[in-house]
C-alpha cells in the first residue's frame, strides 16, 4: 500500500517535472495574467514560460515610473555595457503596478536572459530567476532556425541593414505576441509550414496540450491574401457579442478573428476591418477612456493610434472586391476603415503598457537626444512638456480668456 502511494507520488512528480523541465534560454514577449503570472516567449528553447510572480504586492497606491537611460541602467545592474544589452519587452504587474522588463545580455550563443523589475520608486532590481517558480509549455511545429528570409532590396541596392535583416532565421518570428484570456494563453507567430501564420492556444496551468490554427487575411495595402507574415500584435475584446482577437499586421491591416474558430488544424480567414496605414505595428494595449473601450497601437514608423472598440462592431469586412488592383499607400487611400485617430506621443515608442487606468508606461526614444527612457504619460495627454516649447513657457505669458469661465 505504502509502495503504491510512493509510486503514484513518483508518477505525479515525474509528470509535474515534464511540464516544469524547460530551461529558460531567452525571454522575449511578455504578458501578465490578472493574478500576476508572467508569460514570456522563449524563441531559443521554443517555449512559453509562466513565471509565478503572484506574491508581488503593491507598495504605493499611485506612482509614476520614470527611469531615464533605461538601457544603460539595466546594463549596469547586470554588470555589462548598454551595447551588450537588448531590451525585448516590458509588462506592468497587475497587482504591484511595477514594471517587468525582459532583457538579453550578450550576443549570439553567449546570450543570457535577464528579467528586471522597475519598482514604484523607479529603482531597478534584477530578478533571480532561480528563485521563481515557473512552468513551461513547449511549442510544436516551430521553424528549426535553418531557413532565413530573403533580401528584397528596395528602389536602391540593398543596404547592410537590409542584408542583415535577410540573414535572420525565420524562427525569430515564431513568437510575436502573447495574451492571457480566461484561463488560456494565446500566442501569435509562425509555424514551420508554408501556410505559416498561426495562432496557438493552450490552457493555463499548462498541461502539454496546444492547438494551432493557421490564419489567412486580405491585406489591403499589398492587395493580396496573405498566409505567411504573422500577426505582429493583438488584444482580445468582446465584439459583436463574442470574444475576438483584434490583430494588427505589418503595413498595417487590422483584423478580427473569433476565438471559437481557433481549433487545432483549422485554417481561419480573418475579417479585415481596415488598414492603419503603411509601417509596422509594434504593440497594442487595451484601455478605457471615459468609459469607452479603446485600443492603443504603436508602430515603428508612425505616431500611435487610438482606436475606439465601438467602431469595430458590425464593421464592414473588406475583400479584394472593394478595391482597384494594385498596392495602396499613405499617399493614396490609406488609412481605410474605422481605424480611430493618430495621437501625439512622447517620442518614438518601442514598448507600451497600461501602468494604471490613467497612465501608460512606455519605453521610448527621446525625440531630441535619442536616449532610451522608461516614462509614464497620461492617457489623455500622452506626451511630456519637456518635449515641447510653447507660448505658455514664456515668463511674460498671461492666459487669455482667463475670466471667461467665471462668467
Amino acid at each position: 500500500m505504502r509502495f503504491k502511494t510512493f509510486l503514484s507520488t513518483l508518477f505525479i512528480m515525474v509528470s509535474v517535472f515534464t511540464i516544469q523541465a524547460q530551461k529558460i534560454q531567452s525571454l522575449g514577449t511578455l504578458t501578465f495574467s490578472p493574478e500576476g503570472v508572467l508569460f514570456a516567449g522563449d524563441k531559443v528553447s521554443g517555449a512559453i514560460h509562466a513565471l509565478d510572480l503572484s506574491a508581488e504586492i503593491r507598495s504605493s497606491e499611485k506612482f509614476e515610473i520614470n527611469a531615464y537611460n533605461i538601457d544603460a541602467q539595466v546594463a549596469a545592474t547586470i554588470g555589462t555595457s548598454a551595447a551588450n544589452t537588448k531590451i525585448n519587452d516590458m509588462a506592468v504587474h497587475p497587482i504591484s503596478g511595477e514594471i517587468f522588463i525582459s532583457v538579453t545580455r550578450g550576443h549570439g550563443l553567449e546570450a543570457i536572459p535577464a528579467l528586471i523589475k522597475v519598482d514604484a520608486s523607479s529603482h531597478l532590481h534584477v530578478i533571480d530567476l532561480s528563485m521563481i517558480k515557473s512552468t513551461s509549455q513547449s511549442l510544436n511545429k516551430l521553424p528549426d532556425g535553418s531557413q532565413s528570409f530573403v533580401a528584397r532590396g528596395t528602389m536602391a541596392p540593398a543596404t547592410i541593414k537590409e542584408k542583415e535583416k535577410a540573414k535572420l532565421p525565420m524562427r525569430t518570428m515564431s513568437i510575436m505576441d502573447i495574451q492571457y484570456h480566461k484561463g488560456e494563453v494565446f500566442v501569435a507567430g509562425i509555424t514551420n509550414e508554408d501556410f505559416c501564420s498561426a495562432l496557438r492556444r493552450m490552457p493555463y496551468p499548462f498541461n502539454g496540450k496546444e492547438s494551432i490554427s493557421n490564419i489567412k487575411m486580405f491585406h489591403i495595402a499589398h492587395d493580396e491574401y496573405e498566409t505567411r507574415a504573422p500577426i505582429r500584435s493583438f488584444v482580445i475584446n468582446n465584439i459583436d457579442g463574442i470574444d475576438q482577437i483584434v490583430a494588427s499586421y505589418t503595413c498595417s491591416p487590422l483584423v478580427l478573428i473569433p476565438l471559437d474558430q481557433l481549433k487545432d488544424g483549422a485554417k481561419v480567414t480573418a475579417k479585415t476591418l481596415g488598414d492603419m496605414g503603411n509601417g509596422q505595428p509594434m504593440e497594442m494595449v487595451s484601455f478605457s477612456m471615459q468609459g469607452d473601450d479603446m485600443i492603443f497601437v504603436i508602430s515603428n514608423s508612425r505616431t500611435p493610434r487610438v482606436i475606439p472598440v465601438a467602431g469595430l462592431s458590425n464593421a464592414k469586412s473588406y475583400s479584394k472586391d472593394d478595391f482597384e488592383r494594385g498596392g495602396k499607400s499613405d499617399m493614396g487611400i490609406l488609412p481605410v476603415g474605422p481605424m480611430g485617430k493618430p495621437v501625439m506621443f512622447t517620442g518614438s515608442a518601442l514598448h507600451v503598457d497600461l501602468l494604471n487606468p490613467m497612465n501608460f508606461a512606455t519605453i521610448r526614444r527621446d525625440p531630441e537626444t535619442g536616449s532610451l527612457d522608461l516614462e509614464t504619460v497620461s492617457i489623455f495627454f500622452p506626451n511630456k512638456l519637456n518635449n515641447v516649447m510653447a507660448e505658455m513657457d514664456f515668463p511674460q505669458y498671461v492666459k487669455e480668456h482667463k475670466d471667461d469661465k467665471k462668467k
Binding site: 546594463a75 549596469a76 545592474t77 547586470i78 554588470g79 555589462t80 551588450n84 534584477v126 542584408k163
Partner: protein, 363 residues
Amino acid sequence: MVNIGYTFLFILLNTLGVVEQTTPNLRLPDDIDGYIQLDISDLAEDHNLGYDLLSVYVAHDHNTYALVPAVQGRFTMVDNSLIFKPFFPFEKGLPYVVKINTGMEHEPALIPFLIGEKNIVNQAKVLSIFPTSDLLPENVLRFYIYFQTPMKQEEALQHIKLIDKDGNVDNHAFMKFKEELWSIDGKRLTILFDPGRIKRGVSTNMVQGPALEDGHQYKLRIANEWQDVYGQQLVDVEVKDIMVVEAYRDKIVVGDWVLDSPQYNTLDKLTIVFDRIMDHALIQTMVQVRDENQNLVNGHWEILESQKIMQFIPNNKWKIGNYAIRFDTRIEDVAGNNLQNLLDHNSKDQDLEERYQFINFII
C-alpha cells in the same frame, strides 16, 4: 580624455598591485565567475552588510558609477568575510569600480578593477578547403572554404586567386556574384568557377578557355591581408595545390559505386566507395540509410580520403534484414553533375525524373 586617463590609472594600479596594498581586507575577482570578498572583522557590529557597504559599478569613466545603479547579486557571509557574487558573470575588459563604505573614513573607498583582456576571439584562419583532394577534374565547379572566424564579406575575390604554375593570375576564374555565397555564420564561403568557362561551347569557354586544363598544375591562394569581422588578418597565406585530371563528363551511375556492407550484430561502418569525388556538402544531408520498414537508421556519416569514400556509423548494432541507402538524385559530384543529369548536358538529353535512387544491401 578623462576617460582614457582613468582607464590608464586603474590598469596601472592593478599592474603595480597598488590596489591590494591600499585595501588589504579586500579580495577582487580574478576571473569572470569570481566574487568580491571583504574582511569585515574591524567593522562596527551594527553596520549594514548590503550594498551600503559594498557595491560594484560598471565604470566607463570616473564618474559613471554615480549615475547608474550598482551591479546586483547575492551577499553571503563566510567566517569574517562578506562575499558579493553578481547574478551575472563579470565581463572581460570591462572596467568596474568597487565602492566600500565602512563609515570609518570620510569618503567611501573606490577601487577600480578589470578582469583579463577583452574577450579574445579565435585567430582568423582557413580551416579547410573542400574538395580536399589535390587531384581535381578539369571541370570542378566549386570550392567550399571554411574559416575559423566570420570573415569580412564582399571582398572575397580580391583575396582569393587562381594562379598557374608560371605565376600568372587568372582574375576571371571565379563567378562574381552580386552577393557572395556565405553560410549564415559567415564562416563558410562557396566559390564557383565561372560555369561559362566549364560548359563546353559557351562563349566564355571558347574565348578564354577553361580555367583549369587537364594535366596542368595550379595554386589556389588566399591572401592573409583578408581580415575577419573582428579586424584580425588571416594568420597565414593559404595555398592549395591543384593537379588537374580528366574532366568528369560521364553520367553518375549509382551501380558503379562499391559497397562494403557491415556484419550482423556489430557497429561496423557501412562504406561506400564512389568512382569520383563527390560534393561533400550535399552528400552529408542527402543520403539516408533505411531499413525494410522504411524507418531511418540512426547514425552519422564520415567522409574520407578526399570525398571518394563515405562511411555510415550506426548508433545501434546492425540487425538482420534488408536495407537500402537512399540517394537524393540532387547530390552532385564536384563537377556539379547530379544523378539526374550532367551539368553541361545537351538540351535534348532527358533528365532522370526520380527523386531518389537506391542501393540495397542485406545483413
